[in-house]
């Protein structure tokens, strides 16, 4: 069997080879390397994960359309905790003021902390540093992701798992992208991936905060 003949039947082969084809592969390193490469590509393709995240606008648009079409049969939930209506809750005004003070202090702390962290990585481009700072500002309301998720759970218990999964995925995306950028600081595409990853985290926090804050 010649290489041309082998090449003609290759598209029809799905992992199985006839004896004649196997003999050819044993004797021809070029065809053997080709089959090996094509199998490696197919295998790696199977491992590609679904970790791309749409922006929050997608869900917002879907929800608006569902309401307009009458597929959602209830009004938008009022995110007011029932405890606020309790006659015993006489100091309700303390809550928003305290939240605002905590928000401001944590925002300042996270902004300074994250800028120091990012500035220590000289291989990261200015746009990525800016995106990271913006991401930290969006996430600085609650420093601890678990804390954010607990607040979501208190307001919309069924959504906690979804946001937890989102945060896990976007953090993994950031880790991958940071590794690529560190391995080749001049790789513009890797830098872009890292930028996209930070933007996505900012979006997830933004969406989660809409749920978490009154």
């Amino acid at each position: 069997m010649t290489c041309d003949e082998f090449g003609r039947v290759l598209p029809e082969l799905e992992g199985g080879h006839h004896k004649e084809q196997q003999e050819h592969l044993k004797s021809c390193s070029s065809c053997s390397d080709l089959v090996s490469d094509l199998n490696a590509i197919a295998q790696q393709a199977r491992l590609l994960t679904d970790d791309h995240e749409p922006s929050p606008r997608v869900w917002n648009s879907i929800e608006i359309a569902l309401r307009q079409e009458g597929l959602i049969h209830q009004p938008r939930p009022q995110l007011v905790p029932s405890v606020a209506r309790s006659p015993r809750w006489r100091f309700a005004w303390v809550v928003p003021i305290t939240a605002a003070l905590v928000f401001g202090a944590v925002l300042l702390f996270m902004h300074q902390h994250l800028n120091n962290q990012v500035a220590q990585q000289p291989s990261v481009s200015p746009q990525v540093i800016e995106a990271a700072a913006q991401s930290s500002q969006a996430s600085a309301v609650l420093t601890d992701e678990d804390q954010l998720l607990n607040v979501i759970a208190a307001r919309a218990p069924t959504l906690r798992a979804g946001y937890e999964s989102d945060l896990r995925a976007v953090n993994a995306y950031i880790r991958d992208a940071e590794l690529s950028a560190r391995n080749d600081p001049n790789d513009q595409i890797a830098q872009q991936y890292l930028l996209n990853a930070y933007e996505q985290r900012a979006m997830v926090y933004e969406m989660a905060l809409e749920r978490a804050l009154p």
């Binding site: 598209p11 490469d37 590509i41 997608v58 959602i72 209830q74 218990p157 069924t158 798992a161 946001y163």
Partner: protein, 200 residues
């Protein structure tokens, strides 16, 4: 509601969400969206290589699903039903744009399909050095027809008879397109690796 409603639960099961979505429950719709959004969006993004188009297609796929959710009887897995809908939405969009998903004619063997090595040409094996990011980039550079068949078969796991039905071609054509896609990816990955090796 009956005692089945969990007011303090931290997770709504997919089955419960489907039933509540049929009743028009907003939170149920959102739960289903979050459960499946990444898979649908990843498919759309890889098929189109365009984030804005992918988001539009994701939105359309979920809207079609939610409009028909009242008809879902559970004969197949919900995710399978949603995924098939997403694939149809994407392929329809590609056809609308005039992008030939797969050429109707049977492809003819060309020289680029031959594994024969050019004399004196340097060659190197890829096996063991295909990383995820490189492959994602290479997929984005594939022609739309090759990309669609490659994604449906190697990434999404459809069989050739299913792909043939989805895109409207023969099984032989599907196999041929897949082979050409893999060959093209091999070429792109080698080029990418060679470019990296020559960079200072």
């Amino acid at each position: 509601m009956t005692g089945a409603r969990k007011t303090q639960s931290d997770k709504l099961s997919e089955t419960e969400a489907i039933e509540r979505a049929k009743q028009g429950d907003a939170e149920a719709f959102e739960t289903l969206y979050h459960l499946h959004k990444r898979r649908v969006y990843s498919l759309c993004l890889r098929m189109t290589s365009n984030t804005a188009a992918a988001e539009d297609l994701t939105q359309e796929a979920f809207l079609q699903l939610f409009r028909k959710i009242g008809t879902f009887r559970g004969e197949s897995a919900f995710s399978t039903w949603l995924h098939r809908m997403a694939v149809n939405v994407v392929l329809m969009q590609l056809r609308k744009k005039g992008l030939a998903v797969v050429p109707l004619e049977e492809t003819i063997q060309t020289e680029e399909d031959s594994p024969r090595k050019e004399p004196g040409a340097e060659d190197s094996k890829l096996a063991g050095s295909v990383d995820r990011l490189q492959l994602e980039r290479a997929i984005a550079d594939l022609p739309p027809g090759y990309r669609a068949v490659f994604l449906l078969h190697d990434v999404e796991g459809y069989e050739h008879n299913e792909i043939a039905h989805l895109v409207g071609c023969s099984i032989g054509n599907s196999k041929s397109q897949l082979h050409k896609a893999r060959m093209k990816l091999r070429e792109l990955l080698k080029t990418s690796r060679a470019e990296k090796a020559t960079k200072p």
